[in-house]
Symmetry: C2
Subunit: 202 residues, 2 copies
Amino acid sequence: MPVGSRDKEATKRRLIKAMETVIARDGFGKLGVNTVAREAETDKVLIYRYFGGLDGLIEAYTQDGDFWPSVEELISEPAAIYRARPADEQMARVFRNLIRSLRKRPATLEILAWEMAEQNKLTRHLDRVREALGREFTRRFGNAGPAEVDLMALSAIMTGAVTYLTARSRRSETFNGMEIATDQGFQRLENALELVCKRVLH
Amino acid sequence: MPVGSRDKEATKRRLIKAMETVIARDGFGKLGVNTVAREAETDKVLIYRYFGGLDGLIEAYTQDGDFWPSVEELISEPAAIYRARPADEQMARVFRNLIRSLRKRPATLEILAWEMAEQNKLTRHLDRVREALGREFTRRFGNAGPAEVDLMALSAIMTGAVTYLTARSRRSETFNGMEIATDQGFQRLENALELVCKRVLH
DNA sequence: GTAATTGGTCACCATTTGGTGACTTAAGCA
DNA sequence: TGCTTAAGTCACCAAATGGTGACCAATTAC
């Protein structure tokens, strides 16, 4: 109860922050105008006044949040060096970094899971960001590998696997008998992905 | 309002059936004791009397439903013939059939998506079924392929990809710019999976 | 100092949810 | 025929949800 705080912008920020906290801590299922207001220690009516409702708050959150790794984060080295690598190393590098980036972003994992349940402003936003990044990637580094490889399908498979396994690891210890709660488990997955890239693109 | 039906077993079956309908049609988010009773055109109190609550109904549903393809459905040919194939063909065949089997089971896709949101009797059941099948598979056909391949990790990746992409296709037209709403889209994915198997296990 | 603006609180509403007790009505049996 | 049992209906409850109108209090402008 911030009596006497009287700072609209600060309260807005508190609400956005509270939203992120609720998503990351309790999951998207608990998200609502009541929960967020309680977490922000303010009144839900302000969500309506400042953002026009939960949807507006979500929209503000999308402007603010760092949901998805950039190209730079995914290649994690100077572009010139990266570009000089063979195609299989390029791809393996990207997916390894994608795994690590996602596992560092609990809110993103939650939104990825949310996408499975329903569509809303946040999931659509994440979808667009992701797809734009995918396009930028093929624009900058595309046309690699043998011709008979359907790069788009292959990358959908890899991205799908990474998305599923990281998102699942939020709440499940295993998948199909495989450890996914630990770093070692993901190490094995990264190695397997690397092997796939090497064998398919070489 | 089945006035005069007065048939406990039939009503039980109607409730279980209604549950499947609701899950497949409206998604797990809408599932609840009110929705199911409305769909079954009866009163929710019977869910409590006959099953002790929604959880009990879910449990009854797990006994009844055909959620996951059997080994036979996945190899879809006599075991002797299947076993004679090279490892890469074996694996590719299983994953192609897995895709097709899952796409035929809307309720299963819904439960797979549900697993991302929360754990309950149904998702745990599906988890167990799936894992048992995975174990049976490695028991019957395991130890294939080169030694440096981490078969468990590879199969987690493939299964994860298939799970994610089929479940996502319920409500999304595309993933990362790739068509996943049509048969042709999944044809491309199946081909890519086959290529991966060939290159990795050969 | 006074008045208007604005940030924040509070009380309330309708709706939906899971859950239960009391009732009615039909079937089976003496 | 009448009586007991059980299938099904109905009315209700508490809690939580999204949403709104009326109010209070601090800050600023005049």
